[in-house]
Every structure is written in structure tokens, then in C-alpha cells.
């Protein structure tokens, strides 16, 4: 995640406290793991404002909230990408990030 984006996430998390949830739209397992790790345990590259800052925010992928979104909205916003991306690999990456964060 870029340095400016990290700063924005940190500012918003500080402002709103622990009630914030991160919803990802990442396209593969690697980017999913990297972003999840950044907002849970801190910047893995130790370069940005979130280096060493474990925000501990809950992380979901947008594919996981399909049932909560009106069908027409989900299809218009996400449907095409969900068909073209490897959904199982992305969600496996997120599970791995959660497992690492819990240890």
C-alpha cells in the first residue's frame, strides 16, 4: 500500500476507533495477504506510516459480503470481476493472513 494511503487509513482508524472494518477488492492472493497484513499487524515493508502499527482491524473481501448486498448492485459493481478472478485463491490468501495475524 502506498505511503499516502497508509497515512489515510491510519488517520481514519484513529478517528473512528475500533468499530472500523476494512473491505478489500484485491485481485489475487498475494495482494490480499499484503493489504490484510498491513491493516492488521502493520506495514510488512516497514516503510510507511503503518510500520509497526498493529491497527488490528477486521478485514473482509468484498466477495465475502455478496449476500449482504442487493443482487443488482453486486452484479453491477463486482459480478464481472468475480467471474474473471480466482475467488478461491483470494479467499485462501485472506484466511492465511487471518491465521498469521492470530499467531
Amino acid at each position: 500500500m502506498g505511503l499516502e494511503d497508509q497515512a489515510a487509513v491510519k488517520r481514519v482508524a484513529d478517528e473512528h476507533g475500533s468499530g472500523v472494518v476494512v473491505l478489500l477488492g484485491t485481485p489475487d492472493a498475494e495482494s490480499t495477504q499484503t493489504l490484510a497484513q498491513t491493516v492488521v499487524v502493520g506495514d510488512p515493508s516497514y516503510a510507511g506510516p503503518l510500520a509497526g502499527v498493529p491497527l488490528g482491524l477486521p478485514v473482509l473481501h468484498v466477495f465475502e459480503v455478496r449476500d449482504q448486498v442487493p443482487v443488482d448492485v453486486y452484479e453491477a459493481q463486482v459480478g464481472l470481476m468475480e467471474m474473471s478472478l480466482d475467488r478461491d485463491a483470494i479467499l485462501a490468501g485472506l484466511r492465511e493472513a487471518r491465521r498469521v495475524a492470530a499467531t
Binding site: 500500500m1 489475487d28 499484503t34 448486498v69 459493481q77
Partner: protein
């Protein structure tokens, strides 16, 4: 996890689902979107 009533950071990606699309899903699920970003991995 139920999104309704939660504050959401929509963290999209250029090669995946962009931030505004993630945010729209969150909003329509009943969440308040407090930040929308579209990351770009190169």
C-alpha cells in the same frame, strides 16, 4: 460479519474491484463508508 451499522474502509485495487465499487457494495449493505481508496500494485 454483518456490515450493517459498521464504518468501512473500502480498499479496492485497480486490477481487481476498484475502491468506489467496493464502497457502493458496503453502502448498500448498510455500512457507513469512511474512506475509499484504490491501490495500485505494480
Amino acid at each position: 460479519m454483518e456490515l450493517r451499522g459498521k464504518k468501512v474502509i473500502a480498499l479496492g485495487e485497480r486490477d481487481g474491484v476498484p475502491g468506489p465499487a467496493v464502497a457502493e457494495c458496503a453502502r448498500r449493505a448498510g455500512a457507513e463508508v469512511v474512506l475509499t481508496l484504490t491501490a495500485c500494485f505494480v
